[in-house]
C-alpha cells in the first residue's frame, strides 16, 4: 500500500479512534489526537520527499497524488502548525464537552488540508477540499450555542459557493482541455484568461473565498472568532492558506505563460481586491472590543497582503506572498493561542472586561509581544521581511504605486490594533476581577514559545524560509529564484542586511538594558497600577481608571466614510431578500387539493397546446 494512502488512512482512522477514545476516557482524547498527528507528521517528513508521486484509479477516473516542492511548502505549514495546535489544545480544551467530536473533526480537517495539497488532479482536489470544508464547519459551529443561523451557516454558504465555483471550473477544464490532472491543465494553458475566461475566474472565486478576499470575506471574522482558539490557529494559519495555495498555482501558471499586457487588468483587479481586503480587515479590526474578533479581522487583512503579493506576479511579489503565508501562520497562530490562553485563564477575551494581565501571565505576554511586533511588521522580527518584500515588489517590479499606498495605509493602521491587543489584554489597570488569573499551563505555553522563536529567528535568518519558498517557486515555474540567508535585495540593488540589523538591535538592547535599567535597579520602586498621579492626586480604589471602550474613536470619526462600506450588511440584506422571495414562491403549495388538481390540468393543457414546440 502506498505510503501516502497509509498516512491518510492513519488520519481517517485516527479521527474515529479519537472519537471513541473520548467516549472511553475523556482525559486521553486530546493526547491521542496529538499523538496521531505527530506520528503522521513524523512519517510524512521522514518517508515522503518532494517529487513523490502515486497514480491510481478510482471510480473510473485516473487520479494522481504527489508532492512538488510547492505543495511540500504548504505541508510544512499544515503539519507543523497542526502539531503545535494540538499540543496546545490538550489543555485548552480540557473540561469542555464533546471532545471526541472536536478532535475527530480536527483530524479530519488536517486530513482534508493535507489531501488538498497532495492532490495533483482536480477530482481529488475537490474531494479533499470539500472534506476540509465540512469538517471545519463542524468545528466552527462547535461553540455556537446561539445564533447558529448566522455564524456557522454563513461560513458554510460562502465555502460552498466557493467550492462549487471551483467545481464548475474543474468541469470546464475537463470539457475544454479533456484532462483532470493539474499539471496537464497547466501545460495546456487552462488557466489562461485569454481563452476561456470563466475557468480561471471560477477557480479564483473558489480559492479566493477560502482566502477571505473582499467582498467574500464576511464569513471569516465571525468564523475565526467563534471557533475554539486552538482550531482557529489552524483555521486562520493553515486553512486560509489553502486558498493562497490555489491562487498561487492558478495565477503563476497564468502569468508565466502570457505576456504582461494581457494580464494587466486581471492583475490589477486581484491586487485591488487584496488591497481593499487588507484595508477593510484592518479598520474593522481596530474597532473591535473582543480580542478574538480583532485577531480575526487582522487575519483577513493579512490574507489581503498575501493576495496582493500573489497578484503582482513577479518573483519578489510571489516570494513575499509565500513568505507571508508562513510567517502569518506563525505569528497569527501564536496570537490566537495567546487569545485562547487568556480566554481559558480569565474566562473572556473581551477587552472591556479584562486588562492588566501582564503580571499574571508573563510568558503569554512575552509571546504576545513578540508576535505582535512580527504582526506589525516592525524590524527585527519576521514580519518585517514580508512587508519589505511586498513593498519592494509593488514599487520596483509591479509599478503599482497607489496600491502600495493602500497596503501601507493598512499596515500602518495595523499598529493601532496591534497596540490595542496588547494594551487591552495585558496592560492597563489591574482590576479586581482578574486577580484570580494564573499563568497558562506549560503545554499551552510551549507551542506558543516555539512559534515566537520561529518568528524571531525568521527576522534575522529569513533565508530559512526563503529556501523552501524558492524551491516552491521553481516548482510552479519561476526560474532562478535568488535569495540570501539574511539580507534582502531588490532589483535596483538596494539591500537591507537583516543580520546586521538584528545584531545591532541586540547590541544596543544589551547596552541600554545594562546601563539604563539594570544599573539603577536598586533605586527603582515598583508600584501597582492604582498608584498613579492624576493631577497630583492619588486616585481612590473605586475610581474607574480603565480606558478601553471606544479606544480609537477619533480615528473612527476621521475614517467614517470607510466604515460605511459594510459588506456584511449587503450580504445579509441579500440573504433576507432571497429568503423572502423563496417564501413567496413556496406559496405555490397552497395546501388545497383542488388547487393541486388544477395545476395538473393546467400543466396538461399547456403541454397539449405547446406540444408542437416541445416535441417533434
Amino acid at each position: 500500500m502506498e505510503i501516502i494512502a497509509i498516512i491518510l488512512l492513519i488520519l481517517l482512522v485516527g479521527s474515529f479512534l479519537t472519537y471513541f477514545v473520548d467516549s472511553f476516557n475523556k482525559k486521553w482524547t486530546g493526547t491521542t489526537a496529538f499523538l496521531i498527528v505527530l506520528i503522521t507528521a513524523g512519517i510524512f517528513f521522514t518517508k515522503i520527499k518532494s517529487g513523490y508521486q502515486f497514480n491510481f484509479q478510482l471510480a473510473g477516473l485516473d487520479l494522481q497524488w504527489g508532492l512538488t516542492d510547492y505543495s511540500y511548502y504548504f505541508v510544512y505549514i499544515i503539519l507543523g502548525l497542526s502539531v503545535l495546535a494540538l499540543l496546545y489544545s490538550i489543555k485548552y480544551m480540557e473540561g469542555k464537552a464533546r471532545l471526541g467530536y472536536f478532535y475527530g473533526s480536527f483530524i479530519l480537517t488536517v486530513l482534508g488540508m493535507l489531501g488538498v495539497v497532495i492532490s495533483q488532479d482536480f477530482v481529488s482536489l475537490f474531494f479533499f477540499w470539500e472534506i476540509m470544508t465540512w469538517a471545519s464547519f463542524l468545528l466552527v459551529i462547535y461553540n455556537a450555542y446561539y445564533k447558529i443561523k448566522t455564524k456557522g451557516i454563513k461560513y458554510m454558504i460562502f465555502s460552498a459557493v466557493g467550492a462549487y465555483a471551483m467545481f464548475t471550473a474543474i468541469v470546464f477544464i475537463h470539457v475544454h482541455y479533456d484532462t483532470l490532472l493539474i499539471s496537464e491543465a497547466i501545460a495546456k494553458g487552462a488557466f489562461n484568461f485569454e481563452q476561456y475566461i470563466y475557468i480561471p475566474i471560477f477557480l479564483l472565486l473558489g480559492f479566493g473565498i477560502k482566502a477571505a478576499v473582499m467582498p467574500f470575506h464576511v464569513w471569516a471574522p465571525p468564523a475565526y472568532a467563534k471557533s475554539p482558539m486552538s482550531f482557529t490557529t489552524i483555521f486562520s494559519g493553515a486553512m486560509s492558506k489553502m486558498g493562497v495555495f490555489g491562487i498561487g498555482l492558478v495565477f503563476t501558471s497564468f502569468y508565466l505563460s502570457s505576456n504582461p499586457e494581457n494580464f494587466f487588468w486581471v492583475r490589477t483587479i486581484l491586487g485591488w481586491m487584496g488591497g481593499i481586503t487588507a484595508v477593510m480587515g484592518t479598520i474593522y479590526a481596530l474597532i473591535q472590543t473582543d480580542a478574538k474578533k480583532l485577531l480575526a479581522y487582522s487575519s483577513v487583512a493579512q490574507l489581503g497582503y498575501i493576495i496582493v503579493g500573489l497578484s503582482t506576479g513577479t518573483q519578489l511579489g510571489v516570494m513575499a506572498a509565500l513568505y507571508l503565508a508562513v510567517i502569518h501562520a506563525v505569528f497569527k497562530g501564536a496570537l490566537f493561542m495567546v487569545a485562547g490562553a487568556v480566554e481559558k485563564q480569565a474566562g473572556t477575551t473581551d477587552m472591556t472586561q479584562i486588562s492588566g494581565l501582564i503580571r499574571k501571565m508573563p510568558y503569554t505576554f512575552v509571546v504576545a509581544l513578540v508576535s505582535i511586533i512580527a504582526l506589525a511588521g516592525v524590524p527585527p522580527l519576521g514580519g518585517f521581511v514580508g512587508k519589505w518584500l511586498l513593498y519592494e515588489a509593488l514599487i520596483t517590479e509591479s509599478n503599482n504605486y497607489i496600491l502600495v499606498v493602500v497596503v501601507f495605509f493598512s499596515s500602518t493602521a495595523a499598529f493601532m490594533y496591534s497596540y490595542r491587543f496588547l494594551f487591552g489584554l495585558f496592560l492597563g489597570q489591574e482590576e479586581k476581577e482578574t486577580e484570580h488569573v494564573k499563568e497558562a499551563p506549560a503545554t499551552m505555553i510551549i507551542p506558543m514559545i516555539i512559534l515566537a522563536i520561529i518568528a524571531t529567528v525568521a527576522g534575522a535568518y529569513p533565508g530559512l524560509i526563503f529556501e523552501p519558498a524558492a524551491k516552491a517557486m521553481q516548482a510552479i515555474g519561476f526560474q532562478d529564484v535568488t535569495w540570501q540567508m539574511s539580507s534582502l535585495t531588490n532589483v535596483w540593488g538596494d539591500t537591507t542586511d537583516l543580520f546586521l540589523i538584528a545584531m545591532l538591535i541586540f547590541a544596543v538592547f544589551i547596552i541600554s538594558f545594562v546601563f539604563l535599567t539594570l544599573k539603577g535597579l536598586k533605586k527603582t520602586r515598583y508600584v501597582g497600577t492604582k498608584d498613579i498621579s492624576t493631577s497630583g492626586e492619588l486616585p481612590k480604589e473605586w475610581e474607574n481608571l480603565t480606558f478601553q471602550l471606544d479606544f480609537f474613536k477619533p480615528f473612527e470619526r476621521a475614517a467614517a466614510p470607510l466604515y460605511k462600506m459594510d459588506m456584511n450588511k449587503i450580504w445579509k440584506d441579500l440573504g433576507k431578500n432571497l429568503e423572502a422571495f423563496f417564501g413567496f414562491f413556496r406559496k405555490i403549495y397552497t395546501g388545497n387539493g383542488q388547487t393541486y388538481a388544477l395545476y395538473i390540468v393546467i400543466f396538461l393543457v399547456v403541454l397539449l397546446l405547446f406540444r408542437d414546440v416541445l416535441f417533434s
Binding site: Y589, N592, A597
Partner: protein
C-alpha cells in the same frame, strides 16, 4: 351484414359523435366537478364520472363494425373473425375494479375527514400547506 351493421354504416358519423361525444363529455364533466365542486363527495363523484368516461371510451374503441360479443357460444365456434376486440373489455374490467377501490378508499377518507373537521368542504382542508 346484420341489421345493426347496416344501421351503423348508414349513420356512422352520428354514432361516432354520440359515442365519443358522450365519453368525452363524461370526462370533461368529471374534470369540471373535480376542479370546481367544493364538496368532497362531489369531487369523488367527479372522479368516478371521469373514470366512467374513460372506460366507455376504451370499450368504444374496441368496437368493430358488425362484430359480435367475443364469446364462442354453441354454434358460434368459428365466428372469431366477426367479433369485437375483446382486449379493451378485459382491461376495462380491471380498470373498473381499480376505480371501485379508489372510490371506496376516497369515501372512507371522507368519512374520516368529516369526523375530524365536521365539514366536507375541500377549501377548509388546508392545514397542511407551503
Amino acid at each position: 351484414m346484420t341489421e345493426f351493421q347496416i344501421l351503423f354504416e348508414q349513420h356512422k358519423d352520428l354514432i361516432t359523435i354520440a359515442v365519443y361525444g358522450t365519453s368525452i363529455a363524461l370526462i370533461v364533466i368529471g374534470l369540471y366537478a373535480v376542479l370546481m365542486k367544493k364538496h368532497l363527495i362531489k369531487i369523488v363523484i367527479g372522479l368516478s364520472i371521469m373514470d366512467a368516461g374513460i372506460h366507455l371510451l376504451f370499450v368504444a374503441i374496441g368496437y368493430i363494425s358488425g362484430g359480435t360479443a367475443p364469446i364462442f357460444s354453441r354454434g358460434n365456434e368459428n365466428a372469431g373473425a366477426r367479433m369485437v376486440d375483446p382486449v379493451p373489455q378485459a382491461l376495462v374490467l380491471t380498470a373498473i375494479v381499480i376505480g371501485f377501490a379508489i372510490t371506496a378508499l376516497a369515501l372512507s377518507l371522507i368519512i374520516r375527514l368529516y369526523k375530524h373537521h365536521h365539514t366536507a368542504n375541500i377549501d377548509q382542508l388546508n392545514s397542511l400547506k407551503w
